[in-house]
Symmetry: C2
Subunit: 259 residues, 2 copies
């Protein structure tokens, strides 16, 4: 995670370039986390609503981990957004002062409820085998890693929006004042860039999800290669959910940018 | 993590082959976790002893996470060994029945105190940049992932020892009865295999730690490639600590195998 402004507090180094670098690095983290999760089958009893009042194992686990991470200061970092905001306590350790980059009235944008639903209902079944092997503790830990990596990437849209706004406020202000989400979405969409991202994450899934052997196998047929997570699925996860949800965060952020 | 016996409860499928597969798969997890940790500098104030009675941030974090993971049943799994055993509560969720594979009098072997020291004092400074960026919450989360991956691999030595013992009890029994750790260590050492493992993890660090670009760069000079974690350091971590500590667990386990 490349952090904005870190080594240059005082001067403003929020740039599209540093944000781009962070997003590219976060792709590796996301692909790693999907590969790790794919070791376990769906294991739906871990996260399914039990129907009664008690939480699922995964919900309990993620909520309590977030409480604990808050105690060591995780959510002082504007890049991190909790799934269970209403439970988050203050840090019990001295906290780092992160630079103020985001607009104060807009920085609380949080679409984690939506990310949670999308992840368990749409994304997860695409890249794990169906079934139930009972190993819920490891599964929940892997789901947490995926959820946090996806959430960080999607909410990074706040930084993207901030830098784009600063670069050309005149382009955004009319649409913001008119609350014209469609116009904002259009301003934020660059199809060529999105296609490039989808291709790159596909390649990362091929690279990181291959079986690495001692002896180089350059001569082997590429089409026979087996991957831990289907690279086309990773590309699709980006195209159908990660990129659109990031843009949704950007729009939500911009709508409050002049407040 | 390939789990022993899982899909064949009833019949005994503990085999050197299934253990080998799990150890190879765990290499990917370990390399991923080192790469993720290398995003942050050493950040030693997070884990250094403060000198007074209170725990360091990282110690507090790992201990409390383990308590929470125990509540969802993590340590019912014989592959998982806590760092803070004395704090571990019972699970509050119904737990999975893991097959009994290990010898009951020997399965409690736990060298995590040693792993903790080795990790923070010797291993970590080798693959992260020196310095302190204040981002302790993310650093502690990454350290936890490394510690758990290393601990699982090292304690997997219990399964290795069990299957080797079952394969040829006559080879091991005299040395066990004589408490001859040196003879046991000799029986458990296969230098060729160790060299192969070291080469393979080096290749994994090259593969998973490279910068993946959209456009294939097969023509570029290999020697110019930059890796997120030095592949030779990963090989050295295996050769100097991971393999010897795994064998230490194997010896400790075997010494109790006839109890």
């Amino acid at each position: 995670m490349a952090r904005v402004n870190e080594s240059n507090s005082g001067s403003d180094v929020l740039s599209l370039e540093s944000i781009r670098e962070s997003l590219i690095r976060q792709e590796d983290t996301i692909v790693f986390s999907l590969i790790e999760r794919s070791q376990f089958p769906l294991n739906s009893p871990a996260f399914e609503d039990s129907g009664n009042l008690s939480s699922s194992l995964t919900e309990f686990f993620v909520r309590e981990i977030e409480v604990l991470q808050a105690k060591v200061g995780r959510y002082e970092n504007p890049e991190e957004n909790p799934f269970f905001l209403e439970y988050i306590p203050h840090s019990v350790f001295p906290t780092h002062k992160y630079p103020t980059v985001l607009h104060p009235k807009a920085l609380s944008v949080n679409i984690n409820k939506r990310i949670w639903d999308v992840y368990f209902k749409e994304v997860l079944p695409l890249f794990v085998k169906p079934g139930d092997d009972g190993n819920y503790p490891s599964t929940a830990a892997s789901d947490l890693a995926c959820l946090q990596a996806l959430s960080r990437r999607i909410h990074y849209g706040k930084f993207v929006a901030e830098v784009k706004f600063r670069d050309a406020p005149q382009d955004y202000e009319p649409a913001i004042r008119a609350k014209d989400t469609e116009a904002l979405m259009k301003l934020l969409t660059f199809e060529k860039v999105e296609e490039m991202v989808k291709k790159r994450v596909q390649k990362k899934a091929e690279t990181f999800g291959q079986e690495v052997k001692c002896i180089s196998s350059d001569s082997s047929d590429e089409s026979e290669k087996k991957y831990k997570v289907d690279p086309l699925v990773v590309s699709r996860i980006y195209g159908e959910w990660l990129i659109p949800l990031t843009k949704l965060v950007e729009v939500e952020y911009l709508l409050r940018r002049l407040d």
